[in-house]
């Protein structure tokens, strides 16, 4: 049982408020990713959970214990660092064994030569060696055990760092951007491995990254953090399709979500430069709002149904095309809104879209998200099409 419970965590470095009032409840055995741009306080939060940094305010519980006054090695956690932080003078086996030696042997028992006088120490050391071999076997790195870190590739070092965390059999795994020093291909591979490791160990993982692909692919739930505050804590699917804050909507998804400036009409609809989107929400007339829609949710007139099927559209001019092979992204300049909208199309249709052409961009209202001027989501029940017509 190792749920992690943060209540009102705050932290400042001098004048800089890095974390303000962070509260999270992470369930036992859950894989939670803390996702956010660089500098938003992710590492600081993780270091506070680990006990490497002391919070200014707030409480931390791991399992049934309040750990605020405990030292890192008493918290039943293990941490994997971005730089791997392997001891360069020890072999891989030595690196894996060190946390166990520190925990299972007293300093007198660790003295060189002490093992010759005590069968107990020898028994403990056999146990340590067994656990090191087990971890190495699980991570398929038995052949690396006699090597020094300098003789390892980036991916191998990463594996050793994970192994060193694993041998301690912690109740919570903390990982701070463990993949960011690897090349793209290896990153995808390690992503799968870490997710697999989590399933096999079944313990709580708290994983920090600024890479949304890592967050979306590995996590049970994602915390999106900005400016030292968690904005949303929900499943990867909900983070993508049901963001509660405009900043979350903008941070997640590639290419970026389209954002269009609109004004409420007071008639349960939003006006986008003359295009009236039905939104079942009671807002006074004349309020500035932002309508956001994913490139994949948009289309070019006629594709979401027959012309005149009721899908509202914006007229624009094609200014740029990006063909990624799997997707074709059309950049349409909407002069009326003074903005550019990205529309996803199938690459096979590229010839139908010569640069400079005029096109009608669909805004399917059931997929559009609205945010108020403070960036908070405006929930709406879409007016049924039948009712509107």
């Amino acid at each position: 049982m190792a749920q992690v419970e943060l209540t009102g965590i705050a932290k400042s470095f001098g004048e800089v408020r890095v974390l303000r009032d962070v509260s999270l409840e992470i369930r036992d055995g859950e894989f939670v990713t803390i996702l956010g741009p660089s500098g938003c306080g992710k590492s600081t939060l993780l270091r506070i959970i680990a006990g490497l940094e002391r919070q200014d305010a707030g409480r931390i519980r791991i399992g049934a214990r309040t750990v605020d006054t405990l030292r890192p090695n008493e918290r039943d956690i293990a941490m994997v660092f971005q730089s791997y932080a392997l001891y360069p003078h020890l072999t891989v086996a030595g690196n894996l064994a060190l946390p166990l030696r520190m925990r299972l042997l007293s300093w007198q028992q660790r003295l060189p030569g002490a093992r010759w006088f005590s069968p107990h120490i020898r028994a403990v050391e056999r146990d340590i060696n067994r656990r090191v071999s087990e971890a190495a076997a699980l991570l398929q790195m038995e052949t690396l055990l006699p090597r020094k870190p300098a003789q390892l590739s980036g991916g191998q070092k990463q594996r050793v760092a994970v192994g060193r965390a694993m041998v301690r059999e912690p109740r919570v795994f903390l990982m701070d951007e463990p993949l960011s020093n690897l090349d793209a291909e290896l990153r995808v591979h390690m992503r799968a491995e870490i997710a697999q490791l989590h399933r096999r160990l079944g313990v709580t993982f708290i994983y920090v990254t600024h890479d949304q692909a890592e967050a979306m692919t590995m996590s049970d739930r994602v915390v999106v953090m900005m400016d030292g505050q968690p904005l949303q804590f929900s499943s990867p699917g909900a983070i993508y399709s049901d963001p509660v804050d405009l900043r979350v909507a903008r941070f997640v998804g590639s290419p970026r979500i389209n954002t269009l400036p609109g004004v409420t009409t007071g008639r349960r609809s939003i006006d986008l430069a003359g295009l009236e989107l039905p939104f079942d929400v009671a807002l006074a007339a004349g309020e500035r709002v932002t309508v956001a829609i994913r490139p994949a949710a948009t289309g070019v007139a006629g594709q979401h149904g027959l012309p005149g099927s009721g899908v509202p559209g914006l007229s624009g001019r094609l200014v740029h095309r990006e063909n990624l092979g799997s997707d074709l992204f059309l950049h349409a300049r909407i002069d009326a809104l003074d903005t550019t909208v990205i529309v996803r199309q199938d690459p096979s249709a590229i010839d139908a879209f010569p640069l400079g052409m005029q096109l009608q961009v669909d805004i399917p209202v059931d997929q559009a998200l609205a945010f108020n001027s403070a960036g908070a989501r405006i929930r709406s029940r879409v007016v049924a099409r039948a009712a509107a017509s």
Binding site: A85, P88, A150
Partner: protein, 307 residues
Amino acid sequence: MADTTRADTLERSRGRLRRQQALTAAGLAGPATFLLFLLLLGPTTAVVALSFTDWQFGAKSLNLIGLGNYAEMFGDRVFWRSLRNTLVYVAITVPTSVLLGLGFALLIEARSSAQGFYRTVYFLPVTATLIAMAVVWEFLFHPNIGLVNLLLGLVGIRGGHWLNNPATALYALAAIGVWQSLGFNVVLFLAGLKSVPRDLYDAAAVDGADSAWERFRRVTWPMLGPTLMFVLVIMAIRSFQVFDTVAVLTSGGPNKSTEVLLYTMYTEGFTYFRSGYASAITVVFLAFVLTLTLLQARILDRRVHYT
């Protein structure tokens, strides 16, 4: 036919190009090679050659006497005295200044506020001319008005004339040697400490190594390996070269108690003009320094850089 001729011409012009490149390379490396021979290998060879002769400085002729100089040297009590004094001096100054340097660096690193100030202060003795500072030390060691004896007097110890007493003169010089190189070592160790990755301390803390001693033993000490090796070798070589304090303060005395290799070489070569004999001493000196350098370059270097 036409094709072959063209290929031939091409081949020939390629060969010419390659020769030109080799010439250019030799031309570019030439000055450095020339200077290397002129400034380093040349004089060394000359010293070795001279050590097999009875040449006196300024003499018009010389005789090859084989190992004569070496035989005389190894039979001379002054030489053995001088070698022993040098080794004692090295054996005192190197560990003392290295350990003190490491200790001060750790203390400074722990209190981060005034690091720039400390760094400057500790580096002062390195930048100051030792000859000028030797005058200050002569006063400090003065039997009646010297600060050393005044301070000792406060705790009830009667200090003697440190530099004039054969029993203490070498140790007094060693103390000056430690003082002179301490700051240099502190600065080097501070740089070494700066380059220890912070993450390693964090990893050690998570692993349970979070007391001051465990942090030092698990992270600081192993990570300082390269710095320590560098400081040790530099210090050993510099201590071997001890000369100026001896020349200014004791002239090798009293009673040859501070006679060191370079000073013996100096008196033989420049006071008695026995250049051949002085060269033989220099060869012994060079052999020690070369051994230390090779030791660093070959064996120890590989052991401490973790590759």
